[in-house]
Symmetry: C4
Subunit: 251 residues, 4 copies
């Protein structure tokens, strides 16, 4: 029987090599800002994959790797531990396809963070404004008012009524659901038109995030990565549209 959500840790990695004080979520979303920032950091730091999450709440499809082999679509946890610190990253192909799934998956993510000793979660996303701006702000939210000053000092902007009263999906829910677990939560949203993978917005978010982490990450390859990601995502997006047609056709 299939579980609704399955977590598989790489058992070649010892339990003590899974923990970290910091957890950075960068799942797909508006402008794929979060995904771009998190994947960029994973590559630059050489973070290691320690766990995979699969779920019936993800779209019912497999992804084709470059070598022609397939894998079930998933979310993954990477970990970096080195001179810059110890961080966990959550990245993946998709978020949930249903509202209930968003809650259940986000709860699993914060529960994993809690078990792995996380003290602070960063969720990263885009804030779609629907048009191109000269200057792209980094809008922020926190799950405890006393975190606000620190974020503002790093360049995050708290703007009443933005984003429109709420943050949807894992970026929002992980902040809210980590409150009862005593985990600090900071959401950084890069202003973006929302139409394309947005490396400029990601650069701005990366800047605020690294200040908050007191580390430096080279952002030279962000634009290049955005271009590559755009190609892959266009394919997935096309597939998404086809999927809806096909699902209605075969279901």
């Amino acid at each position: 029987m299939m579980e609704d959500i399955t977590i598989r840790f790489d058992d070649t990695i010892a339990p003590e090599d899974r923990t970290a004080p910091i957890f950075i979520e960068g799942l797909p979303g508006i402008g794929h800002v979060g995904k771009l920032v998190a994947e960029h950091m994973i590559h630059e730091l050489g973070a290691v994959r320690i766990a995979e999450i699969t779920s019936i709440y993800f779209p019912p499809q497999v992804i084709i790797n470059e070598d022609g082999s397939v894998r079930v679509c998933n979310n993954e946890i990477f970990r970096y531990s080195g001179e810059k610190g110890t961080f966990l990253f959550l990245v993946g192909d998709f978020q949930s396809t249903s509202g209930e799934g968003h809650y259940l998956l986000s709860q699993v993510y914060v529960d994993i963070a809690h078990e792995l000793g996380v003290k602070r979660i960063f969720t990263i996303g885009g804030y779609g404004v629907g048009h191109f701006n000269e200057v792209s702000r980094v809008i922020a939210a926190v799950n405890r008012p006393d975190l606000r000053k620190e974020v503002e000092d790093a360049g995050g902007i708290f703007s009443e009524g933005e984003p429109g009263g709420g943050i949807i999906g894992a970026a929002g829910l992980m902040l809210g659901l980590s409150i009862p677990l005593g985990i600090e939560g900071i959401c950084l949203m890069g202003e973006t038109s929302g139409y394309l993978v947005d490396p400029k917005s990601a650069t701005n978010v990366l800047s605020v995030l690294t200040k908050l982490l007191s580390i430096e990450i080279d952002d030279a390859k962000l634009t290049e990565r955005a271009g590559e990601m755009e190609v892959v995502l266009q394919r997935l997006l096309e597939q998404e549209k086809k999927s809806e047609e096909e699902l209605s056709y075969i279901g």
Copy 2:
């Protein structure tokens, strides 16, 4: 693991300070009449928050408070006990996003009412007529025919075939589901165009409700509150629309 519906009572409040004979539901709905009436009463009476309900059946998003901190969207129970009587109030950001969720949440609400010693439930809503009327009636329904006369004496109108054979969401289901628990139920629906937060309709409902409760509540600030609520709701509504776009984008 996440429960589908979670109730958290404020444990600084003693169990005997949670009970009440009267329960007033004012969740969001047409013209936000119920929400406006219930929140107005909570403010005027100085009712105290005693419990919070969160659920995977609510939209998958967090609400941003004025100070930049977030909270998971929820429903809340407030309680007033003083010289005017003892009342419970149910208010919140949203109702369920699914039909099944409406049933399951409404059952939880009447079960809570039952446990807290409630003898009578008032559900308050709007009755959308789609156009602006000079006179806005208060249409009523009950869960026992013998309650009808009392409601008519207070100004509630029973009009066969209105509202169109049914009452949807918590306002209707709480009335129906409280029958087997032996709790009396009265629904008051203020006629409204349904397009905006409607303080005139709310004033009329408040008038009937306070007569039935044999209390007086100043309605001077209702219009002012309606204006403030309108601003907040417009934001949420915009967010709702964006959410749908975003969910289809990230899912």
Copy 3:
């Protein structure tokens, strides 16, 4: 906690007064043919209500009775036992709102039938042809090929490729799901334009059904009943449309 599907038998009726060899399903559907035939028979025979089914798979609303009181929307089982025989009837406000709910409710219905000693189930529906016909046939299907001749002798027509390869909802599923229980199943579908409550189609179905039951039922009041039902259903239909708007508004 709420069960997904709840069956409440009237406990003033002894278990031995609940059984019957014949079960007639007439839930809402195309042209409300099944509903009209079953409710007509219930009235003409003076059948007695023995059970009520409520479910989270029904629309989340209450129905307002003529006296202004409400009830949760439901399905009901009536029973007639007298000189014409012993029959159970299944009627109600709605069918399920989801595909999964259709299966789960239909399974409950055939399980109840099985427990009550039912040997044969009749499901009655409309067969929507989208236009008005001079002659309205009664299309039939069975759950065992050897039942076909009997149905044809009574006037039921088996027409390959009609209805289009399948029968949806309870009328179809109850036939299929009763096969493993050894219960015979016959579906009678009155050809109808599908736009209005169709008393002519219902008269034709009643004629075939009563022949199969070897009884006589006066059909004089069918047209009158159809008119009354049309009024009630129009209200519900309007409410349905409003509900969708409201649910999207409050959810």
Copy 4:
């Protein structure tokens, strides 16, 4: 009570006559290429039906057989054991109507395969390109990179970025979900316009598949079968559309 997914093996067939090293999935999909290939092989080989799967995740309807009797819509497993080898086939009326159902059903299919000793699964589908091509390729994917060469030698084409980064439904998920069970998986997708049952595309897929199985299957009747299937599917498709209308009408 109804199980969400039910598997019924024909108990006149001994457990040792259910096993096979090869499992071929041909459920409905784009161009019905998989369904056509699998049903053609079943007929040509004279494979025997050994199990039936029913589920609440299939559309809520029954299928009418030619003799006027009905059956619940299902998926079926056939088995051939003879001089050409021993194969299992999975065919059926529909795939799941929901994303969650796709996962749960696909998991059941690979679990059955595992229990029956299967070492290799072939999933067959169409690859809809939206226009008519002179030459129709057979696009392939595998669940282990080392399977690629064998498939290429048989005529399967691995084309990076086709199909658009993913394979949806059972054809994809069974490949992915069989990885942890140690079962080899090969997906063959016949390029097709996607609008009609496509015997040309099926002929190409059959050619690659039989090379991989080292058997010969006469393809003379494929076009004839495609014509018959087209008639049946048109009916089902019409019924599907009607179903959606009816479900919204009766629900």
